[in-house]
């Protein structure tokens, strides 16, 4: 791998490098870190030294140690600049701003690679006597990659097979090592990896146990049966990791899951572990380093309880991160299998273990495919088969499945509250129109991120009467005991 072309930055303190953050911060001592760079999201702090030089050092280290080098090098050569991806991108379709074209965004990073890490680029810089990368270019990249929701819809359209979503992920990873990451993501991940509670919502074990007891009481009140949540049971098939926020916000989803296992007579297949109970992995959004450490916690807890499989709840990014990172970081062909709860429920239904009331939900129902579950074609038909079994008035959105539109809050952007207007107004615009066209009362979104985002989209777009729910929330109504 070529050395980073950083030497120039050292010798040439010209206006490009010199006008860096240190100078800006001195001139405006009261600016918050994100204001120094002019970002729309909050960051905790900024790398205090020469960020241009640091960016190139990080890029060089990442190319050296990870598996992105060949990918970046190939993509830097083959980009056709055809803009087919623009037609697939809901952000570009909403803004018509050329800077929102996926290929443009990817090229921000690829051009840095071409100019600083290839022979031709270094020669070009030496001859021209300039440094390509500037603080302004870092700013543009940092802003751009958090406009993208990482939905990867564009990857279907690129004739060269460029995965713009992965390049967005890589850009965010490089930026994260310069501390340029939305504060909301960093704070949650820090609590998960280094905090007392060890999960992103900071739920301590006693509170978790209280919640589970409360949910059991709720089921008793509503259904008249005792459905305990299995905790710390050893040797079960599944160890369960939902988005931990579900324990605070999505009681109905969890009740539905517990009732499903119970009704199928298979409650002894799963358990929740008190050692670790969070499926969220923001590493997928911004850091390979965090991703590996978080996935290590899921693997360790499953092994501690002698479980056979990692079971992820209704959460898109938790499912995808486990599906990708468990094999990568957990031993390849010897890694624990990863299963999503919808696959398990579908399998129970297929085996005739679940009796459902076909008239349980008379209202119109539609299904939103979370990108991280559907884009690769992993889980598309199963939830529809489950829904059709008890929803008389089921309609699909168009497009759907692998080619669905993102809820608009993907890639961690849903957690960034300060960009809500952008999230619902721009990235969520397409989804709002899709939902409106279905005329559905219930939008089923089996993903914690999508649920939060879609509720805000419905609120901000005046979609009154639409209820965003999980798959198991509705199933809970339909199960015949």
């Amino acid at each position: 791998m070529a050395e980073a072309n950083t030497a120039q930055g050292e010798g040439r303190q010209g206006p490009l490098v010199g006008a860096s953050a240190a100078a800006t911060a001195q001139a405006h001592p009261k600016l918050l870190p994100h204001q120094v760079l002019g970002l729309s999201y909050y960051v905790e702090r900024l790398y205090p030294g020469d960020r241009v030089r640091r960016f190139l050092e990080v890029f060089a280290a990442v190319l050296e140690h990870t598996n992105y080098a060949h990918l970046v090098d190939t993509y830097a050569r083959v980009g056709a600049k055809c803009a087919n991806c623009a037609c697939a991108c809901q952000i570009y379709l909403a803004t018509q701003d050329p800077k929102d074209i996926p290929c443009y965004r990817s090229n921000l990073l690829l051009e840095i690679y071409r100019r600083h890490f290839t022979f031709r680029g270094v020669l070009q810089s030496k001859l021209a006597g300039t440094v390509y990368l500037t603080e302004e270019r870092i700013r543009e990249l940092a802003e751009s990659v958090y406009h993208c929701t990482g939905c990867r819809r564009c990857s279907f359209e690129c004739p060269m097979g460029i995965d713009h979503g992965l390049l967005t992920h890589l850009s965010r990873y490089i930026l994260s090592e310069l501390d340029i990451t939305p504060k909301a993501l960093v704070v949650a991940t820090r609590e998960q990896l280094e905090g007392k509670t060890g999960n992103t919502s900071a739920i301590p074990v006693p509170a978790l146990l209280d919640t589970l007891e409360f949910l059991t009481e709720d089921i008793r009140d509503e259904k008249g049966i005792e459905v305990p949540f299995p905790v710390d049971q050893e040797g079960r098939e599944f160890v369960f990791f939902p988005a931990v926020s579900d324990y605070l916000l999505e009681a109905d989803t969890l009740k539905g899951i517990a009732l499903t296992f119970h009704a199928a007579g298979e409650a002894d297949r799963w358990t929740i572990g008190t050692g670790y109970y969070d499926g969220i992995n923001y590493g997928l959004f911004y850091s390979d380093w965090c991703a590996e450490r978080i996935i290590g916690k899921e693997i360790a807890e499953t092994k501690r309880l002698k479980g056979q499989k990692i079971l992820i709840g209704e959460c898109g990014h938790a499912s995808r991160s486990a599906k990708v990172f468990v094999p990568s970081f957990g031993g390849g062909k010897n890694a624990l299998p990863v299963v999503n709860i919808m696959e398990v429920t579908w399998d129970m239904l297929r085996r005739g273990k679940l009796r459902l009331d076909p008239d349980a939900v008379p209202e119109r129902v539609t299904y939103h495919d979370p990108c991280n579950i559907a884009r690769t074609g992993w889980i598309v038909d199963q939830p529809r088969e489950i829904l059709r079994a008890f929803c008389k008035n089921y309609v699909d959105m168009e497009p759907k499945g692998e080619k669905n539109f993102c809820c608009g809050g993907g890639g961690g952007t849903v957690s960034i509250d300060e960009v809500r207007a952008y999230r619902t107004g721009v990235t969520g615009k397409m989804k709002a129109e899709q939902i409106r066209r279905t005329g559905a009362k219930y939008v089923v979104a089996p993903c914690a991120n999508c649920k939060k985002q879609l509720r805000e989209v419905c609120e901000d777009h005046g979609l009154e009467g639409v209820e965003v729910v999980g798959l198991h929330d509705l199933l809970y109504k339909a199960i015949v005991l």
């Binding site: 990870t66 060949h70 990918l71 190939t74 037609c87 390979d288 380093w289 991703a291 590996e292 062909k333």
Partner: protein, 236 residues
């Protein structure tokens, strides 16, 4: 006179040089790609590669019928048409094969002249449509740079002048000029192939496996990156 000596150069040493550069460029690309793929594979934490799925995915992209299912149908149809012409005509034109036979004694079946003509005219029409997209479509224009226009002009020139060389009777240009233009643009394309975005002609079969390996992460890489950056022991 000058034009004739230029043609003589392009037919002789120029052609050899163009092919030599093309050959060296291909060697470089092939070597780099093979080395990098092996490197990425060996570092990957999960070495299971879904070969048949990747193969089907790659094939899926080059079946022109798929173009009819995309979002930008005129563009993709034009692109597919152009690529068929670009592959078939230079390789299977009777005139080209005759030249190769004269030089190296190799020969293979040629396209009927009528088919070659039709493919050339279709490719020209497709190129004009692609050019219109580049000039008029807001998204495409905003991404376009010098290279994108240069390669388009070279392809147009190679096909148009080639057609005129094959049909001298109906050509508005003097024969030598058409010939000169054809040799120049075709040889420039050969030389530029490995060093510009045309490299996709060589790298295309590998883009899917490259993508797949990109998602095969390297265990411990995050720690090593932080060690290299002097961030060992620092928290999130």
């Amino acid at each position: 006179m000058k034009m004739e000596s230029a043609v003589a150069f392009l037919r002789g040493p120029g052609l050899v040089l163009a092919f030599a550069l093309l050959f060296l460029g291909i060697l470089r690309q092939a070597g780099l790609t093979a080395a990098e793929l092996v490197r990425a594979y060996r570092k990957a934490g999960d070495q299971r590669i879904p070969w048949s799925w990747l193969f089907r995915k790659s094939l899926g992209w080059i079946v022109p019928v798929n173009a009819l299912r995309g979002t930008r149908i005129p563009y993709t149809v034009a692109s597919a048409t152009f690529h068929v012409g670009m592959l078939a005509v230079p390789l299977f034109l009777a005139g080209h094969i005759a030249l190769v036979k004269k030089g190296w004694g190799l020969s293979w079946p040629a396209l009927p002249a009528l088919v070659a003509d039709a493919l050339t005219l279709l490719a020209l029409a497709a190129l004009i449509l692609l050019g219109l997209y580049r000039l008029l479509d807001r998204a495409t224009r905003s991404l376009s740079g010098f290279q994108d226009y240069l390669l388009l002009v070279l392809c147009l020139s190679a096909f148009a002048s080639g057609y005129l060389v094959a049909h001298p009777a109906s050509s508005p240009l003097p024969f030598t000029l058409a010939w000169f233009l054809h040799l120049l643009s075709a040889e420039l394309l050969l030389v530029l192939l490995p060093f510009t975005k045309l490299a996709h002609a060589l790298l295309f079969p590998f883009t899917r496996i490259t993508w797949e390996l990109g998602w095969h992460f390297v265990p411990g890489a995050g720690d090593r990156v932080r060690l290299a950056l002097g961030k060992e022991g620092e928290g999130v």
